[in-house]
Symmetry: none
Subunit: 222 residues, 4 copies
DNA sequence: GATGAATGAGTTTTCATTCAT
DNA sequence: TATGAATGAAAACTCATTCAT
């Protein structure tokens, strides 16, 4: 059906001779496609069509659909690193810092749905690609945990956060935050359909954010 | 030619004229396959191979791969209805009832991974099938909400649960419980790989359960 | 898709225990289906669905799709024999008799489209089934020719029809009449689409009939 | 693995990179197959086998069996346009011109059976494809009509063709010519089997041609 | 580097036909 | 006789991948 789109080989000067750009565009298109349909549902053709290149280029740069998939996953992680810049948590009282951290996570996940969806798809299918993450990627996640650890430690030290034997660890809190954040994307359709609440919609945004903040804060607060 | 291939009338209970059974078996196999790979990744052949039937029968009963998918989704929901029997919540003090409810949900989701995964896949892809759920299916989900509503009302009445203006609604609490329960399946691979915690494994079972119970209880408790 | 139409086996007393009727109904349904789609396009399932019987009966009575096809073709010819009753041609002057014969043929073909279409399909595909027609069927066609022969002979004897060496034979005239009659069905769609004339429609009925009568009469008239 | 299967660069002219040629070959094969069996009876595999290509190429260029069918029908019409060159009718007396026109049509249809059969099949099945003909294709058919119109006008002007109120129109004559020409292909098998005359065979060629010419000429002649 | 054409191995779907009751 | 369930073979269609230029 999509055969014969012609296009000649003259003018289109913008499209040729820029390997890095081509590679980058392919990755972006791949992230979108894989994020939309998952590894199994994605089509190499569709990825090539999203930008203006041919399948051949995909194989030239990435060798195979799976190769592209892994590269897309890694790139998606990489693009993630841009955040988590200094939120200035150290200067805030512990609870405020925690709220800020939660808020930051919620905002990040909400504005990076492709990434979140990619991670969800990866988990539903074997998650093999996850096993092959770079140490950098792993470190990244650990970084978020460290930040959280600092805030919690400070809160405990100041006596405002629980410090009993069953007090939640940083990993516990991270699990709770992640659960609440991911659920918005993972079950958005069901939740909206069954209960009429759009977890990522503007109407419920404040309410959902407050709910999640409260849930987290109450978990750690004395 | 090759007569006498027998098969006699011994046991071969799987192969014979029992339409309901055949249909049922196909559905079970379909639930497994779709739950493993999603609609796009599932193979009609693979479904037929799982039980002892042919691809042809699937089309005989369900018309198309998508028809089977919808039937499998509906059946999965249907099989869900068995639970939610009386947990005897009414006889427990509110907090205990709430813990019991959380525990029941956690246990249910953990033992019905195919269903959970099916729902997750459905959400990640368009979620169109969800739009077509029976009223019965919808009612089922609402039922869980009603149960929760009762417990919360009782807790508020007894003065043990929050009743302020920003107190969480039953839907809020439901969202939190669902988030925490689904996350175990939705992000199990990532979490294990990055943090070494198997959210559905035996080792961490008690800890995770306690964490989730606490999170929920602390959210509503005064 | 069409599976499970149930229907129980009680009341429907009209439908069971009448072999001849069942056979006859199958044939009628087959004539319709084959006439609509041709041998290759027809579906055994579709034939079974047209009446209220099962595919099994078709195989019981006719052995195979082809067997049914041959039977349907023969039956269609057989049902044709009903016509050609005495048109009273002998009592008319030759030209009037000829016009009457043409008119009768036109009317017959117009009201027996399934038969005409069956013949056309048969001709387009190998026409093998035609080779196997009964002598009865052949005689039938010859009968029409004989009638024509009589009229022409009478016309020639009366000096109103051509009798020169290049005068058309009965077979020639039959060919012309058949050509003009069949074309209406064989090319109806094209003719309507390209020239806006519906060869079998009511509007043009009289005009087309007159045209064909004239064509034939002028061919033989002195 | 199995390298060295050669194929070198000898002749294999059929297999190489010439999209237009490939496309063209597929179309030719399709015209043959569809003309032999009709849309329903044709097999995509069979079309691929006719030339040296794979089924896959057919989908590459035409998207679907039906897409190919429509393209084949259009192409068949297109190839038709080559004819109808100047027959020099204007230089002949009207009757001779008319005879020449008839003769040309007969010859054309006899030597383009695939086209004729395609049109017949199209008419027998819904004729939907005909509705979608280009204006060019329509114009082509109208062209034949114009030619006829000229001849008839000239004959009437010269007083050799009928000019009364019931004189046949150009469309009428076209209908008659088409009927007589198409019948040879449409009912060849039946006619040969039942009456022993092969309407397209060499033996009867002259006789049939004369008969048809006479039929047409006598229709319009004073 | 870049491009369109080509391909083999699946994957879904359809269909005539047969079996068990 | 009658019926619904079952089946194997083939048909349409799709997809990741490679080749020639």
């Amino acid at each position: 059906m999509a055969a014969h789109q012609g296009r000649g080989s003259q003018d289109s000067t913008a499209r040729t001779r820029d390997p890095d750009r081509t590679r980058h565009e392919i990755l972006s298109a791949a992230i979108e496609e894989f994020s939309d349909k998952g590894l199994l549902g994605a089509r190499v053709d569709a990825i090539a069509e999203r930008i203006q290149t041919t399948k051949r280029m995909i194989y030239y740069y990435f060798g195979s659909k799976e190769g592209l998939y892994r590269a897309a996953l890694a790139e998606s992680y990489r693009r993630t690193r841009a955040r988590e810049q200094d939120l200035g948590l150290a200067d805030m009282p512990p609870e405020q810092a925690l709220r800020e951290l939660v808020r930051s996570t919620l905002h990040y996940d909400a504005t990076h749905e492709p990434f979140v969806r990619l991670v969800l798809f990866e988990n539903l299918l074997g998650g093999e690609a996850i096993t092959q993450l770079d140490e950098e990627d792993r470190a990244l996640n650990r970084g978020a945990l460290d930040l959280l650890d600092d805030v919690l430690a400070r809160g405990r030290a100041e006596g405002v956060f629980r410090d009993d034997v069953s007090a939640p660890t940083a990993l516990d809190v991270h699990q709770v935050i992640s659960s609440l954040a991911f659920f918005r994307t993972a079950n958005r359709a069901t939740f909206r359909e069954l209960f009429g609440r759009d977890l990522l919609g503007d109407e419920s945004a404040d309410h959902v954010r407050d709910l999640i903040e409260d849930t987290v804060v109450r978990l750690v607060r004395i």
